[in-house]
Symmetry: C2
Protein backbone atom coordinates (compact mmCIF):
# COMPACT_ATOMS: atom_id res chain seq x y z
CA UNK A 1 0.00 0.00 0.00
CA UNK A 2 2.72 2.38 0.94
CA UNK A 3 4.46 1.84 -2.38
CA UNK A 4 1.28 2.65 -4.26
CA UNK A 5 0.91 5.90 -2.39
CA UNK A 6 4.31 7.18 -3.50
CA UNK A 7 4.07 9.99 -6.01
CA UNK A 8 4.99 9.19 -9.61
CA UNK A 9 7.88 11.69 -9.49
CA UNK A 10 10.68 9.74 -7.87
CA UNK A 11 9.79 6.52 -9.70
CA UNK A 12 9.78 8.34 -13.03
CA UNK A 13 13.10 9.91 -12.13
CA UNK A 14 14.52 6.50 -11.34
CA UNK A 15 13.30 5.13 -14.65
CA UNK A 16 14.74 8.14 -16.48
CA UNK A 17 18.07 7.70 -14.72
CA UNK A 18 18.13 4.03 -15.60
CA UNK A 19 17.43 4.82 -19.27
CA UNK A 20 20.09 7.51 -19.37
CA UNK A 21 22.62 5.16 -17.83
CA UNK A 22 21.74 2.44 -20.35
CA UNK A 23 22.20 4.91 -23.20
CA UNK A 24 25.58 6.13 -21.91
CA UNK A 25 26.82 2.59 -21.28
CA UNK A 26 25.74 1.48 -24.74
CA UNK A 27 27.40 4.52 -26.31
CA UNK A 28 30.62 3.72 -24.45
CA UNK A 29 30.52 0.08 -25.54
CA UNK A 30 29.96 1.04 -29.17
CA UNK A 31 32.74 3.63 -29.03
CA UNK A 32 35.14 1.08 -27.60
CA UNK A 33 34.20 -1.57 -30.11
CA UNK A 34 33.94 0.37 -33.35
CA UNK A 35 35.29 3.84 -32.70
CA UNK A 36 33.48 7.11 -33.16
CA UNK A 37 32.15 6.26 -36.61
CA UNK A 38 30.46 3.17 -35.15
CA UNK A 39 28.25 5.27 -32.87
CA UNK A 40 24.94 6.29 -34.39
CA UNK A 41 21.88 7.27 -32.39
CA UNK A 42 19.98 4.56 -34.29
CA UNK A 43 22.40 1.90 -33.15
CA UNK A 44 22.45 3.19 -29.56
CA UNK A 45 18.64 3.10 -29.51
CA UNK A 46 18.54 -0.43 -30.94
CA UNK A 47 21.05 -1.83 -28.47
CA UNK A 48 19.95 0.02 -25.34
CA UNK A 49 16.25 -0.50 -25.96
CA UNK A 50 15.67 3.20 -25.30
CA UNK A 51 13.56 4.99 -27.91
CA UNK A 52 15.33 7.41 -30.23
CA UNK A 53 12.91 10.19 -29.28
CA UNK A 54 13.81 9.65 -25.61
CA UNK A 55 17.52 9.82 -26.43
CA UNK A 56 17.05 13.08 -28.30
CA UNK A 57 15.05 14.47 -25.36
CA UNK A 58 18.17 14.15 -23.17
CA UNK A 59 20.91 14.82 -25.74
CA UNK A 60 20.13 17.23 -28.58
CA UNK A 61 22.68 15.68 -30.94
CA UNK A 62 24.96 12.70 -31.48
CA UNK A 63 27.89 14.96 -30.51
CA UNK A 64 26.24 15.92 -27.22
CA UNK A 65 25.72 12.24 -26.43
CA UNK A 66 29.35 11.46 -27.24
CA UNK A 67 30.51 14.39 -25.13
CA UNK A 68 28.50 13.12 -22.17
CA UNK A 69 29.64 9.51 -22.57
CA UNK A 70 33.27 10.58 -22.87
CA UNK A 71 33.18 12.97 -19.95
CA UNK A 72 31.74 10.17 -17.83
CA UNK A 73 34.64 7.97 -18.96
CA UNK A 74 37.22 10.66 -18.36
CA UNK A 75 36.22 11.01 -14.73
CA UNK A 76 38.19 13.67 -12.95
CA UNK A 77 41.03 11.95 -11.10
CA UNK A 78 41.32 12.75 -7.39
CA UNK A 79 44.18 15.21 -6.85
CA UNK A 80 46.86 13.54 -4.71
CA UNK A 81 48.39 15.68 -1.96
CA UNK A 82 51.18 13.65 -0.38
CA UNK A 83 53.33 16.71 0.35
CA UNK A 84 55.92 15.64 -2.24
CA UNK A 85 55.61 16.79 -5.82
CA UNK A 86 57.45 13.69 -6.99
CA UNK A 87 55.04 11.21 -5.49
CA UNK A 88 52.00 13.29 -6.46
CA UNK A 89 53.16 13.38 -10.10
CA UNK A 90 54.15 9.70 -10.05
CA UNK A 91 50.66 8.74 -8.87
CA UNK A 92 49.03 10.72 -11.67
CA UNK A 93 51.43 9.59 -14.40
CA UNK A 94 51.04 5.94 -13.40
CA UNK A 95 47.26 6.33 -13.41
CA UNK A 96 47.37 7.58 -17.01
CA UNK A 97 49.66 4.70 -18.00
CA UNK A 98 47.25 2.20 -16.43
CA UNK A 99 44.17 3.78 -18.02
CA UNK A 100 45.88 3.62 -21.41
CA UNK A 101 45.79 -0.16 -21.17
CA UNK A 102 41.98 -0.06 -20.80
CA UNK A 103 39.50 -0.25 -23.72
CA UNK A 104 38.76 3.43 -23.16
CA UNK A 105 42.12 4.26 -24.71
CA UNK A 106 41.17 2.83 -28.09
CA UNK A 107 38.47 5.52 -28.38
CA UNK A 108 40.76 8.50 -28.19
CA UNK A 109 42.27 8.27 -31.69
CA UNK A 110 38.73 8.20 -33.13
CA UNK A 111 37.97 11.48 -31.41
CA UNK A 112 41.26 13.03 -32.48
CA UNK A 113 40.78 11.88 -36.05
CA UNK A 114 37.25 13.24 -36.28
CA UNK A 115 38.32 16.46 -34.53
CA UNK A 116 40.77 17.15 -37.39
CA UNK A 117 37.73 17.73 -39.59
CA UNK A 118 35.01 18.80 -37.12
CA UNK A 119 35.21 21.85 -34.87
CA UNK A 120 32.53 20.64 -32.44
CA UNK A 121 34.47 17.48 -31.80
CA UNK A 122 37.72 19.44 -31.47
CA UNK A 123 35.96 21.32 -28.68
CA UNK A 124 34.82 18.02 -27.13
CA UNK A 125 38.37 16.72 -27.26
CA UNK A 126 39.88 19.75 -25.62
CA UNK A 127 37.30 19.62 -22.82
CA UNK A 128 38.06 15.95 -22.13
CA UNK A 129 41.71 16.77 -22.25
CA UNK A 130 41.41 19.69 -19.85
CA UNK A 131 39.81 17.33 -17.31
CA UNK A 132 42.72 14.97 -17.72
CA UNK A 133 45.26 17.71 -17.26
CA UNK A 134 43.71 19.61 -14.38
CA UNK A 135 45.03 17.37 -11.58
CA UNK A 136 48.60 17.66 -12.90
CA UNK A 137 48.41 21.45 -13.08
CA UNK A 138 47.04 21.61 -9.52
CA UNK A 139 49.85 19.42 -8.19
CA UNK A 140 52.50 21.54 -9.95
CA UNK A 141 51.01 24.80 -8.70
CA UNK A 142 50.89 23.51 -5.11
CA UNK A 143 54.56 22.51 -5.38
CA UNK A 144 55.35 26.02 -6.59
CA UNK A 145 53.57 27.50 -3.56
CA UNK A 146 55.55 25.18 -1.26
CA UNK A 147 58.78 26.20 -3.01
CA UNK A 148 59.46 22.69 -4.34
CA UNK A 149 59.40 23.96 -7.93
CA UNK A 150 60.45 27.38 -9.23
CA UNK A 151 57.56 29.80 -9.71
CA UNK A 152 58.95 30.59 -13.17
CA UNK A 153 58.13 27.05 -14.26
CA UNK A 154 55.35 27.02 -16.86
CA UNK A 155 52.91 24.38 -15.56
CA UNK A 156 51.51 23.52 -18.99
CA UNK A 157 54.94 22.98 -20.46
CA UNK A 158 55.73 20.64 -17.61
CA UNK A 159 52.46 18.77 -18.21
CA UNK A 160 53.46 18.40 -21.88
CA UNK A 161 56.76 16.94 -20.67
CA UNK A 162 54.92 14.33 -18.59
CA UNK A 163 51.86 13.43 -20.65
CA UNK A 164 53.67 13.83 -23.99
CA UNK A 165 56.03 10.85 -23.69
CA UNK A 166 53.24 8.67 -22.26
CA UNK A 167 50.84 9.51 -25.12
CA UNK A 168 53.70 9.07 -27.57
CA UNK A 169 54.48 5.53 -26.42
CA UNK A 170 50.84 4.53 -26.41
CA UNK A 171 49.81 5.91 -29.80
CA UNK A 172 52.90 6.65 -31.91
CA UNK A 173 55.85 4.43 -31.18
CA UNK A 174 53.68 1.70 -29.60
CA UNK A 175 56.47 0.72 -27.22
CA UNK A 176 55.83 -0.81 -23.78
CA UNK A 177 54.10 1.60 -21.41
CA UNK A 178 54.50 0.57 -17.79
CA UNK A 179 54.82 2.17 -14.37
CA UNK A 180 58.61 2.22 -14.60
CA UNK A 181 58.40 4.34 -17.75
CA UNK A 182 55.83 6.69 -16.17
CA UNK A 183 58.12 7.21 -13.18
CA UNK A 184 61.13 7.91 -15.38
CA UNK A 185 59.12 10.50 -17.26
CA UNK A 186 58.31 12.25 -13.98
CA UNK A 187 61.95 12.11 -12.93
CA UNK A 188 63.02 13.74 -16.20
CA UNK A 189 60.34 16.40 -15.92
CA UNK A 190 61.45 17.29 -12.40
CA UNK A 191 65.14 17.41 -13.35
CA UNK A 192 64.47 19.67 -16.30
CA UNK A 193 62.14 21.89 -14.27
CA UNK A 194 64.88 22.47 -11.71
CA UNK A 195 67.50 23.34 -14.23
CA UNK A 196 65.66 25.14 -17.00
CA UNK A 197 66.41 28.81 -16.55
CA UNK A 198 63.75 31.03 -18.09
CA UNK A 199 65.18 33.09 -20.93
CA UNK A 200 64.30 36.73 -21.22
CA UNK A 201 62.55 37.50 -24.50
CA UNK B 1 62.32 8.47 -87.33
CA UNK B 2 64.67 8.22 -84.42
CA UNK B 3 61.82 8.37 -81.95
CA UNK B 4 60.03 5.57 -83.76
CA UNK B 5 63.13 3.39 -83.58
CA UNK B 6 63.35 3.63 -79.79
CA UNK B 7 62.46 0.39 -78.08
CA UNK B 8 59.11 0.28 -76.32
CA UNK B 9 60.84 -0.41 -72.94
CA UNK B 10 61.84 3.03 -71.73
CA UNK B 11 58.65 4.65 -73.00
CA UNK B 12 56.54 2.03 -71.27
CA UNK B 13 58.57 2.50 -68.11
CA UNK B 14 57.99 6.23 -68.27
CA UNK B 15 54.28 5.71 -68.73
CA UNK B 16 54.21 3.26 -65.84
CA UNK B 17 56.10 5.68 -63.63
CA UNK B 18 53.71 8.47 -64.54
CA UNK B 19 50.70 6.29 -63.68
CA UNK B 20 52.23 5.20 -60.39
CA UNK B 21 52.97 8.79 -59.46
CA UNK B 22 49.41 9.82 -60.34
CA UNK B 23 48.04 7.02 -58.16
CA UNK B 24 50.26 7.94 -55.19
CA UNK B 25 49.46 11.65 -55.50
CA UNK B 26 45.74 10.95 -55.68
CA UNK B 27 45.96 8.62 -52.68
CA UNK B 28 47.77 11.33 -50.73
CA UNK B 29 45.19 13.96 -51.68
CA UNK B 30 42.31 11.70 -50.67
CA UNK B 31 44.00 10.82 -47.38
CA UNK B 32 44.54 14.48 -46.58
CA UNK B 33 41.00 15.44 -47.51
CA UNK B 34 38.95 12.63 -46.02
CA UNK B 35 41.26 10.55 -43.86
CA UNK B 36 41.96 6.87 -44.20
CA UNK B 37 38.33 5.86 -44.56
CA UNK B 38 38.02 8.17 -47.58
CA UNK B 39 40.61 6.20 -49.54
CA UNK B 40 39.20 3.37 -51.62
CA UNK B 41 40.91 1.86 -54.63
CA UNK B 42 37.73 2.65 -56.63
CA UNK B 43 37.95 6.31 -55.76
CA UNK B 44 41.69 6.45 -56.44
CA UNK B 45 41.09 4.85 -59.85
CA UNK B 46 38.27 7.27 -60.67
CA UNK B 47 40.24 10.37 -59.73
CA UNK B 48 43.65 9.37 -61.09
CA UNK B 49 42.27 7.97 -64.35
CA UNK B 50 44.38 4.84 -63.82
CA UNK B 51 42.52 1.55 -64.21
CA UNK B 52 41.81 -0.44 -61.07
CA UNK B 53 43.48 -3.52 -62.57
CA UNK B 54 46.64 -1.45 -63.17
CA UNK B 55 46.58 -0.22 -59.57
CA UNK B 56 46.27 -3.76 -58.27
CA UNK B 57 49.17 -4.82 -60.51
CA UNK B 58 51.47 -2.45 -58.59
CA UNK B 59 49.93 -2.65 -55.11
CA UNK B 60 48.36 -5.94 -54.06
CA UNK B 61 45.99 -4.30 -51.56
CA UNK B 62 44.57 -1.00 -50.39
CA UNK B 63 46.88 -1.27 -47.36
CA UNK B 64 49.96 -1.69 -49.56
CA UNK B 65 48.95 1.41 -51.52
CA UNK B 66 48.47 3.38 -48.31
CA UNK B 67 51.80 2.16 -47.00
CA UNK B 68 53.55 3.32 -50.14
CA UNK B 69 51.80 6.70 -50.25
CA UNK B 70 52.57 7.32 -46.58
CA UNK B 71 56.20 6.26 -46.79
CA UNK B 72 56.62 8.68 -49.69
CA UNK B 73 55.11 11.40 -47.50
CA UNK B 74 57.21 10.51 -44.50
CA UNK B 75 60.43 11.01 -46.42
CA UNK B 76 63.49 10.27 -44.35
CA UNK B 77 64.78 13.61 -43.06
CA UNK B 78 68.48 14.31 -43.71
CA UNK B 79 70.47 13.71 -40.54
CA UNK B 80 72.05 17.00 -39.43
CA UNK B 81 75.66 16.81 -38.25
CA UNK B 82 76.60 20.26 -36.97
CA UNK B 83 78.93 18.90 -34.28
CA UNK B 84 76.59 20.06 -31.49
CA UNK B 85 73.86 17.75 -30.23
CA UNK B 86 71.76 20.75 -29.24
CA UNK B 87 71.61 22.26 -32.70
CA UNK B 88 71.20 18.86 -34.38
CA UNK B 89 68.20 18.08 -32.16
CA UNK B 90 66.78 21.59 -32.53
CA UNK B 91 66.85 21.24 -36.32
CA UNK B 92 65.00 17.94 -36.19
CA UNK B 93 62.47 19.03 -33.57
CA UNK B 94 61.69 22.24 -35.47
CA UNK B 95 61.27 20.24 -38.68
CA UNK B 96 58.64 18.04 -36.99
CA UNK B 97 56.84 21.10 -35.61
CA UNK B 98 56.76 22.65 -39.09
CA UNK B 99 55.58 19.44 -40.77
CA UNK B 100 52.79 19.21 -38.21
CA UNK B 101 51.29 22.38 -39.65
CA UNK B 102 51.08 20.75 -43.11
CA UNK B 103 48.04 18.83 -44.40
CA UNK B 104 50.03 15.62 -44.00
CA UNK B 105 49.55 15.89 -40.24
CA UNK B 106 45.78 15.51 -40.48
CA UNK B 107 46.28 12.00 -41.88
CA UNK B 108 48.14 10.59 -38.93
CA UNK B 109 45.19 10.27 -36.52
CA UNK B 110 43.32 8.29 -39.19
CA UNK B 111 46.16 5.80 -39.33
CA UNK B 112 46.43 5.61 -35.54
CA UNK B 113 42.69 5.15 -35.19
CA UNK B 114 42.52 2.39 -37.78
CA UNK B 115 45.64 0.76 -36.31
CA UNK B 116 43.83 0.30 -33.00
CA UNK B 117 41.64 -2.24 -34.76
CA UNK B 118 43.87 -3.50 -37.60
CA UNK B 119 47.24 -5.19 -37.14
CA UNK B 120 48.44 -4.56 -40.71
CA UNK B 121 47.92 -0.86 -40.26
CA UNK B 122 49.58 -0.94 -36.84
CA UNK B 123 52.60 -2.36 -38.66
CA UNK B 124 52.35 0.44 -41.29
CA UNK B 125 52.19 3.03 -38.54
CA UNK B 126 55.23 1.71 -36.71
CA UNK B 127 57.24 1.62 -39.95
CA UNK B 128 56.36 5.25 -40.75
CA UNK B 129 57.18 6.14 -37.20
CA UNK B 130 60.55 4.37 -37.26
CA UNK B 131 61.50 6.50 -40.29
CA UNK B 132 60.55 9.60 -38.39
CA UNK B 133 62.56 8.58 -35.36
CA UNK B 134 65.71 7.28 -37.03
CA UNK B 135 67.38 10.68 -37.51
CA UNK B 136 66.91 11.56 -33.84
CA UNK B 137 68.38 8.27 -32.68
CA UNK B 138 71.39 8.74 -34.99
CA UNK B 139 72.05 12.25 -33.67
CA UNK B 140 71.83 11.04 -30.04
CA UNK B 141 74.15 8.10 -30.67
CA UNK B 142 76.73 10.32 -32.38
CA UNK B 143 76.63 12.68 -29.38
CA UNK B 144 77.23 9.71 -27.10
CA UNK B 145 80.27 8.72 -29.16
CA UNK B 146 81.60 12.29 -28.93
CA UNK B 147 80.99 12.28 -25.17
CA UNK B 148 78.38 15.04 -25.33
CA UNK B 149 75.77 12.76 -23.78
CA UNK B 150 76.30 9.93 -21.28
CA UNK B 151 76.48 6.48 -22.87
CA UNK B 152 74.01 5.26 -20.26
CA UNK B 153 71.35 7.51 -21.81
CA UNK B 154 68.59 5.42 -23.43
CA UNK B 155 68.19 6.98 -26.90
CA UNK B 156 64.56 5.91 -27.32
CA UNK B 157 63.57 7.38 -23.98
CA UNK B 158 65.18 10.63 -25.01
CA UNK B 159 63.31 10.55 -28.32
CA UNK B 160 60.06 10.06 -26.38
CA UNK B 161 61.01 13.14 -24.34
CA UNK B 162 61.41 15.20 -27.53
CA UNK B 163 58.71 13.91 -29.87
CA UNK B 164 56.22 13.25 -27.06
CA UNK B 165 55.54 16.87 -26.05
CA UNK B 166 55.40 17.93 -29.73
CA UNK B 167 52.88 15.22 -30.65
CA UNK B 168 50.96 16.01 -27.48
CA UNK B 169 50.54 19.69 -28.33
CA UNK B 170 49.54 18.94 -31.90
CA UNK B 171 47.00 16.20 -31.25
CA UNK B 172 45.94 16.22 -27.60
CA UNK B 173 46.06 19.61 -25.95
CA UNK B 174 45.92 21.47 -29.29
CA UNK B 175 48.03 24.31 -27.92
CA UNK B 176 50.29 26.47 -30.12
CA UNK B 177 53.18 24.50 -31.61
CA UNK B 178 55.99 26.75 -32.77
CA UNK B 179 59.77 26.71 -33.06
CA UNK B 180 60.17 28.26 -29.62
CA UNK B 181 58.30 25.34 -28.07
CA UNK B 182 60.31 22.79 -30.07
CA UNK B 183 63.55 24.36 -28.84
CA UNK B 184 62.38 24.37 -25.23
CA UNK B 185 61.54 20.70 -25.53
CA UNK B 186 65.08 19.98 -26.72
CA UNK B 187 66.52 22.04 -23.89
CA UNK B 188 64.52 20.07 -21.33
CA UNK B 189 65.51 16.76 -22.89
CA UNK B 190 69.20 17.69 -22.76
CA UNK B 191 69.00 18.89 -19.15
CA UNK B 192 67.27 15.74 -18.01
CA UNK B 193 69.69 13.54 -19.98
CA UNK B 194 72.63 15.12 -18.20
CA UNK B 195 71.24 14.71 -14.77
CA UNK B 196 69.27 11.48 -14.88
CA UNK B 197 71.39 8.90 -13.15
CA UNK B 198 70.60 5.37 -14.32
CA UNK B 199 69.27 3.26 -11.48
CA UNK B 200 70.52 -0.23 -11.02
CA UNK B 201 67.74 -2.79 -11.34
Amino acid sequence: MKAKKRSAGPRTDERVERSKKAVLTTTYELLTKSGLSGVSVDEVARRSGVAKTTIYRHWPSREALLLDACSQLASRPPVPDTGSVRSDLEQLACRVAVRFREPFATVMPSIIDAAERDKDLAELQSRIHAEMRRALVTVIERAQERGELPKTQDAREMVAGILGPIFYRRYFSREPLDEAFAKKVVERALKSAESVVPRSK
